[in-house]
Amino acid sequence: MVVKGKKQSISVYGDGPGDRAIERHTLSVLVDNEPGVLARVIGLFSGRGYNIESLTVAETNKELNQSRMTIIAVGTPAVIDQIRHQLERLVPVHRVNDLTEEGDHVERELALVKVVGTDEKRIEALRSANIFRARVVDSTQESFVFEVTGSADKVNAFIDLMIPLGMVNVSRTGSAAISRGPDKM
């Protein structure tokens, strides 16, 4: 393990990881859909001090009673590796794939964005929504709810655009991801 610029440590446990490169990885986790499985995964992240950016989960195979979780985790490469191994240790976890590591994958997030306003701003909001291929799923005289899907970056960009145009609320799903190509995983 490389530790950069280590000084005499104050703590008897030495310094933390310091300024090593932080990466962002998308993990796809196949789990038994049983009570407590989400708590096990969340508990693992909080208990071991790992950072999670987003987590989504839903049942994906009724017959096998399995769910797929998509977890965006951030950390040094060594920490990301640990996260994968620690997840694999959990008994109801069948498989963990690091999509970022394994190659091309598609990542999508959905957001519902509520914008309130009239006149110019309202028209501008609708025009921008068009550019982002956001759909209007609710509208009143003075408000819209847009549904936008795309990468987290695209959703972020859309939200940034909507803030000055009267955005009052947003609800995001977090990313779902899958590998490209014919591979099963």
């Binding site: 393990m1 530790v3 280590k6 440590s9 104050i10 703590s11 008897v12 446990y13 030495g14 038994d32 859909n33 049983e34 009570p35 407590g36 708590a39 096990r40 508990g43 208990g47 009724k62 017959e63 096998l64 009673n65 399995q66 060594a78 590796d81 640990q82 191994h85 620690q86 694999e88 240790r89 959990l90 008994v91």
Partner: protein
Amino acid sequence: MISAVKEKALAAKTSKTKKMSGAEMVIEALVEQGIDTIFGYPGGAVLPIYDALFQQNKVKHILCRHEQGAAHAAEGYARSTGKTGVVLVTSGPGATNAVTGLTDALLDSIPLVCITGQVPTFLIGNDAFQEADTTGITRPCTKHNYLVKDVNDLSNILHEAFHISGSGRPGPVVIDLPKDVQFAEGNYINKANAITHMYQPQTEPDMMAIEEAVRLIANAKKPIFYTGGGVINAGPKASKDLTEFVKKTGHPITSTLMGLGAFPAHEEQWLGMLGMHGTYEANWAMHDCDVMVCIGARFDDRITGDIAKFSPKSKKIHIDIDPSSINKIVSVDLPIVADAGSAITAMLKIWKDKKYKVNQDALNRWWSKIDEWRSVNCLSYKNSDTIIKPQFALERLRHHLSKQKKDVFITTEVGQHQMWAAQFLPFDKPNHWMTSGGLGTMGYGLPAAIGTQLGNPDGLVIDVAGEASILMNIQEMSTAVQYNLPVKIFILNNQWMGMVRQWQELLHGERYSQSYTESLPDFVKLAEAYGGVGLRADTPDELDGVIEQMLKTDKVTIVDVRTCQSENCFPMIPSGKAHNEMILAADADKFDKKLV
């Protein structure tokens, strides 16, 4: 809840099943799993199981005096017999009291199955009397846990729990069992028909990697074997093969606290324990080696010291059954995921088949370097005619034990005495040394000794204790008396929480905050009050007589050995320092005490 597929498979088998109550299923499954001894404490939420226990005689229940004691006793039993330890406790306080034992078993990879009572399913979540969220509380301190809501799931869960607890990297599994499920009738699926294959850890090594490892070992100029508790967990054959393999190579070997006994300590190649209080030669050899063969150990911070300066020049081979242990702390050159036993056996076979030879010249040079380190005589201490030095007490104990015909088992509490026991007592066999390594739990030793004695009725079981630690589970004296367990408690009584005092002396400017153990009981009278035997040694010349007496008693015996109060445990690698920055008894005075 179980998957639809599993449910279907199980349904197909129900035609062959017996009907019985949940409580009866617990007993039935224990018997099928080969369990004849369990440790526990009754209470409202487990009464149906206690009722079922009462009506049979295949499973013996050992009533401990505290649920923590029951859990540690089960650990001692498990570690000394290689079987799974079983604990039975009630809901709420029964379960929370067991948590320390569960955590201890998780950190030291001890197979335990702990059945906790729970309030009836329809009361869960209502803050019912003695309700605790046991699965929530124990999730991070178990390998796996279950809350059983349907009696028809119970038998499969019981069998799966034993499978999970004992396979792969062993650990504790909790089954939380609501009272109504214990009463309910359901189908019992026997062990043969149970579906447990969902959990299948990898145990067989990648043979290419094993070949590469053997090649590295053969070509090494400054090799060292660094082994841990994983070798013990892999069963006696792993230790036997390890011994043969290491002898064939002629390489030096050291081990962690948990791994003591896997390689016989009387052999020339044995360097003693490594780590914070390890020997000078072991730590220097780790620091200077060119090939490190780590088997079933996990680079704990008590082993490595300063990670940045840890064994900087070596190629590292790491064999571990738990992939998450590999590259967690130290990045290694050759990772091998496997059961320690399978990997060692495979390496030994290749070594023999391919008639490998070591680089003898280089090895000789390495050994003469090691002999230089050995000549430092790092465990030497200044003896006294008037005051009992703790090291001297252990040397006398070792002397008397060497004449014992009985199989000797040592357990310990936590503190200086634990480190001295590891340094001064000889460990020649696996499964004969029970200590709390990962968690460092004071109060572990006495209950663990009780479990060990139960699993080895003809053995001689000694708990090397500190006066502070022993008070943490002293109530288990009663258990030892009730079941006629003649365990010996050898207290190195320095009247201080010695290890805390040592850190305060060396690292906190000699400010001895709360580490003096005031108002100690009279341990001789205490032993007698429980119905055991109490002995005391005040001066060095009394030691031999007292030890001889202790070895003759057929009852639980406390020996209060009044030792030097200010003795420190050396060598010591202060936390965060490197292996080659170890301090020895001789230069302790030069140690910079202002360092914090």
